[in-house]
Symmetry: C2
Subunit: 413 residues, 2 copies
């Protein structure tokens, strides 16, 4: 007998019929003799509607009240899912964040989970009850409803899996697993059977919209095996496995490159002749962080004269003019030239096998050169190489790299 | 300084703009130096949508889960109302049933309030905060979300008013007060300045859809003055008083007849030759009650021979065939003839002055006779006379009685 946390995203519970379909998946798990805790998101569209109501009243509204309003979405789904499970003959009950309780800090709107006392859930499981927990929400120590921010239901599922010592956490979504790259861009993209947390983190952070990065981090920290699978498979083959996400040590045959990811709509900011002194990077990025601007790739070259250096970084394109204003207001950049290039894409290759193989980056650069794609900046980590390129080459770059690293699916003959 | 509970119904909070309009009313009260607790219903249509979701999954669904789903509606509104009040510069916070807490019994779906510890609300009020409480909901002793049944937000408002010793409870709705009869049926219907709890109870129970009877009962028990007024009056005259509902002793000039009410779509069941013995009425009505059928008027004539009697009662028309089946299954009614007349209306005159005046019923019967309306059954109480008539005469009966008892509004010249 295993213990499994099973999470259904918004499109998997978009209406009562889909909720009943999702309930069937839970029934299958219990029939295998497993204890199951279900976590649900809000029905697709509901959260956006609730956020819209709040913003109609006050675009900069109080996060505590925003949380009270928005958390209702998951409360609705968890009650409906419990009803669907009862209809299938399972004993089931819904649990909101305060009922579990999922104790969060006071950072309303983007709260973090402090603690999940497992006693109530354990009691229910031992009594044959299938609890259905509202994702995305918790309760603060002062008894206010809090939410975990967008994508938070994945985090709820993983945190619960850790709290009740679950053997696995299954994330049902509208795709049937993690792919080597975006199948809409590359029809030959291949579903991966297994990826490591580290690879998944790079993929999630770089734009593969399957799992929220926070949930992957948490799974890695608590060593909870994750599985991504589709809630829309029914009938023959509906038990097809998805993609398993586990620790690097649980992967025997490490792929050199396991995925190609991309993000579009970035702007590249280049600062020419920045004073090269301690603290300068912090002084540049502090005002951007303060304005809520998400800085991504940062490249700083070695200073040739020891006095000034050049620095390049990317921000979302919509923020680029705000960034320009913020930087122009910095006194110590008075004699620095600020160059902004919009319409930049970032393309990355990811693989835990990369660190033990040479020539991986070289293959990437050669492939891009053969396709006449100019590389504007490069960053690397242990398991990733990212390049900035002109946005119009995104598709060509991803496809040619996908082929070059042998990721193309075998065509059915 | 007064303390006031102010409740807004579903149409008064139907969208963010109306919520902001309602918030203006609250601001006016606080500007008068009053402490205000706000109670809100779900936005118009939301509760029906949530009930529909539950019934799509299971028409006879578990009341505990139904409650968890449906209570979300009021949670949404109370957060939005708190945001609207904050935007007007008031300190405000939302409170769900479990946060107040409003402690209810375990009768999910139609729970009753056991206790409202007033400490948290008192603290907030004394600190200048305007609490916004989700109507219609509470929490059971075992920590489950419960709802009070339809119309429950009025009950929440009155119970809160009693708990925090409020000076008044204002119920904002889509009408500007209690009328002598339905203004859609009788254009000359007149707004009442004051009615007694007893009259309001008769009117509410008999079909005036302004206030839920339970809330009136509770207001009477705790002697909470109620006011019904419109949330849609704005600008000049927006502070027009509605109808005040108070104890009989607070009404100096008692009207003989204060209101004419009606209900349509009743069926009249007549049992000819029922065995006249102790317990027979209980034996007839127990199975109907068990089937959830609401029996209204009951008339039993004196038994002329001491052996059998005739009995007449009304039920909602949609239940009449079910009633027939239930009655036919009763052994002791084997030799009783069961007659069913559909399309029956009940018309009632109501007034606390009635008990001290003679000839009131006679005026009613004469008026109906003059209009050639046949009376099929009569029941009376201290402050009410009801008759059953053919449904097609409803409008004629109500209008002619309204005139006969001098309730017609003076026409503006």
């Amino acid at each position: 007998m295993a213990r499994i946390v099973v999470k259904f995203g918004g499109t998997s519970v978009a209406d009562p019929a889909r909720i009943e379909n999702a309930a069937d998946k839970v029934l299958s798990e219990t029939k295998r003799g497993n204890q199951v805790v279900v976590v649900v998101s809000a029905m697709a569209g509901v959260t956006n509607q609730l956020v819209d109501y709040c913003q109609q009243i006050d675009p900069g509204c109080d996060a505590k009240e925003y949380d009270a309003v928005v958390a209702s979405g998951e409360q609705i789904t968890c009650g409906l899912m419990a009803l669907a499970l009862q209809k299938l003959g399972l004993e089931s009950r819904s649990m909101t964040g305060w009922q579990v309780p999922i104790i969060c800090n006071d950072q309303h709107g983007r709260s973090r989970i402090d603690d999940i006392p497992p006693e109530k859930l354990n009691d229910l499981l031992q009594n044959g009850v299938t609890p259905v927990v509202a994702g995305f929400q918790g309760v603060s120590k002062s008894g206010r409803i809090s939410t975990l921010g967008r994508g938070g239901s994945d985090t709820t599922a993983v945190a619960l899996a850790a709290a009740i010592k679950s053997d696995r956490c299954d994330i049902y979504t509208d795709v049937d697993g993690v792919y080597t790259t975006d199948p809409r861009l590359v029809p030959l993209a291949k579903k991966l059977d297994k990826v490591s947390y580290e690879e998944m983190l790079e993929m999630a952070a770089l734009g593969a919209k399957v799992l929220h990065p926070r949930s992957v981090e948490l799974a890695m920290a608590w060593n909870v095996p994750l599985q991504v699978l589709s809630s829309f498979n029914t009938g023959i083959g509906s038990d097809l496995p998805g993609t398993i996400i586990v620790g690097e040590n649980d992967i025997v045959e490490k792929q050199i490159v396991n995925g190609i990811t991309y993000t579009r709509n970035e702007s590249k900011i280049t600062l020419i002749s920045v004073p090269d002194m301690p603290g300068v990077a912090a002084s540049i990025f502090a005002p951007l962080g303060g304005a809520g601007i998400n800085v991504d790739v940062i490249v700083q070259n070695v200073s040739p004269d020891g006095k000034t250096t050049d620095m390049t970084f990317t921000v979302p394109k919509i923020d680029s003019s705000k960034v320009k204003t913020l930087l122009e207001n910095l006194d110590f950049l008075k004699s620095t030239e600020i160059r902004i290039a919009n319409d930049i894409a970032k393309v990355s290759i990811i693989g835990i096998g990369m660190s033990s193989h040479t020539g991986v980056a070289q293959t990437m650069f050669t492939t891009l050169a053969e396709n006449k794609i100019n590389i504007q900046a490069i960053t690397t980590s242990e398991i990733k190489v990212s390049v900035l390129i002109d946005e119009k080459f995104t598709e060509l770059a991803v496809r040619s790299l996908h082929t070059a690293f042998g990721l193309d699916q075998q065509q059915a003959s």
